[in-house]
Symmetry: C2
Subunit: 349 residues, 2 copies
């Protein structure tokens, strides 16, 4: 899944160039490329499919030249994850009714790749054998209020039946979740067979099922694009979590720990990055004075940023936008984007 616009990462992530197409961590590869490389150790390249907005077709082609056009699924408009999953599952099912799917965002960091592959291998064995819907759960390290939490049943082993989903709890609640030991973070990485997820969609999102059922003789043909454009016009905006996971009976979570971050926000980038002796994360031509616990990042090699006298700030520069914001108030970034959209013209989005 590579269709998001990453607005919490503005101004680095922009409508015309979202986060997953950036080398956010300064590793010489974009998030999308790192994600594709990760799955290339799990399945052949020809089994990797990217679902994205059609505006990003050229970016995907450029960054993942090994993909054929058949493997790049273009949404005419973003409708959240349920239509995205329905589209990909239906298309892949038409070629291989026994396909097992991993559905993953393209902008996550996974530090322990080998452990991740172990988790995936065991997960796919389970989804191939049983009619279950699986999400990967991350053992929480702090009461983060930005994640979804999954409560799992008592039992043995890492694969547990899901009891409840809670999206972005308040801090007090998050603390209680952690203390109870019964909760993991929802990574948003899903494993299931094409058959199982399509059955769940048919049962719980029958309208969505009908829309994509119409396409069953269009997949991998010249007509796919036109069909999808009209199909998406009928799709409601709904997440796979809300539409399926929170309502199905056969939902399981794999308790995992593979150095995961969704890299959803500036603070998460700060947390995962190497820091200097004063707790600063610096990326670019940066000069700092009396500055601590801050992240200063420019996407341009041709710019100099001089920062004096700040503690716990985000200073981010990208293209034509400079943002200065306290790190603990990064939730305001969404306001900035909305206000810029309202007050100025769209070039800054």
């Amino acid at each position: 899944m590579a269709g998001g616009i990453g607005s919490r990462f503005w101004p680095m992530s922009r409508n015309y160039y979202p986060k997953q197409f950036h080398d956010v961590l300064g590793m010489g590869k974009t998030m999308l490329q790192q994600t594709a490389e990760r799955y290339a150790t799990i399945c052949p390249d020809e089994n990797i499919y990217v679902v994205t907005n059609r505006d990003y077709y050229a970016l995907v082609k450029k960054q993942l030249p090994m993909l054929s056009d058949e493997q790049i699924l273009l949404e005419p408009v973003g409708r959240n994850t349920a239509p995205c999953v329905a589209y990909a599952a239906a298309k892949i099912y038409s070629r291989n009714p026994n396909a097992n799917l991993i559905v993953a965002p393209s902008d996550h960091v996974i530090l322990k790749e080998e452990e991740f592959r172990n988790v995936i291998r065991r997960g796919l064995e389970a989804t191939a054998a049983k009619d279950i819907l699986m999400t990967l759960g991350i053992r929480p390290s702090r009461p983060d209020t930005g994640y979804g939490y999954i409560q799992f049943n008592d039992g043995v082993g890492d694969l547990r039946k899901v009891k409840t989903f809670t999206e972005k709890p308040h801090l007090e609640l998050a603390k209680k979740f952690i203390e109870s030991g019964e909760f993991v973070w929802n990574s948003g990485i899903f494993l299931w067979s094409a058959k199982s997820v399509l059955a769940a969609i048919e049962k719980l999102l029958p309208e969505l099922h009908e829309i994509f059922e119409e396409g069953k003789d269009k997949w991998y043909t010249e007509d796919e694009k036109a069909f999808i454009n009209s199909a998406y016009a009928q799709c409601k905006n709904i997440s796979i979590d809300y539409g399926i996971m929170e309502k199905s009976e056969n939902v399981y979570v794999m308790l995992s720990e593979f150095g995961w971050s969704d890299l959803g926000t500036w603070k998460s980038l700060y947390d995962i990055s190497d820091k200097d002796s004063k707790g600063n994360v610096l990326d670019g031509n940066i000069m700092i004075y009396d500055t601590t616990n801050s992240i200063v990042k420019t996407t341009s090699k041709d710019k100099l940023i001089v920062v004096h006298g700040l503690d716990n700030f985000i200073i981010a520069e990208s293209d034509d936008v400079i943002m200065i914001c306290p790190k603990d108030e990064e939730q305001r970034v969404k306001d900035f984007v909305a206000d810029a959209k309202a007050a100025k013209d769209k070039r800054f989005m």
Copy 2:
């Protein structure tokens, strides 16, 4: 005088594009153009001479197209104000031995233009009649530690003999100066006859006198440029204040009040600019949140700056440099420039 590089105004003022060539106040005209217009109400255009570094010839020509090349005096290297004054005075004297001169920086703000013209008119009457060296003194409104202070003698009227010069006093001393009522700020605007200043240079800076005496048959000829290039190689770096004004007997100050600012620093720009209800000075595409008493300025119309949660800061963006600095620590700007020069390459100077 338009040869300075305005390093206290970095990053807006740059080696390749100093402050006087910018529309610092956002008035649609650069500081140099505003200065030229001010004097064009006092003398004919052909009597306006600009002394600048030869690197800025093209900028001066573009901004003041009414000036002939004879009126643009190009220094091969900056040597402070004494050589600049000696050059211009000698050249103008060769054409008109009775010339009265106003020597003025090109980057000052003068709000009360009519009062300024009154002061100049009365000043020129005095310098035409008597062999005196005059500086314009500004009645101080606060104990500013960034200015030079002039103590004047008892007497009547606005034209007073100078008792002492004190450059940039400590705060306590500045407060005492103000309380005494015997001090004014030194504006750095000088009035004198060409004859008087040349006589003072001959007496107090004999080496400088000799250097420019050699040029007396070169002014307004093709040889002037080559002569000046070799003359400046021999000049010491010395200010007209230190070399002449502090040592002459016939130095007077005109006590004045015409809404003056030397606009030397970010804080002085902040002080003189209109503020919003939260005490912010904003110039450019700026969005602010919970930000007070700050100055945010970008020289580009194509950039957006978003600032959240700052009080009493300077945020300045120009070309390829972004600077964030507490307003009360703007003296550090010189360090930033020096450090950038040492650590990075010269493109950021």
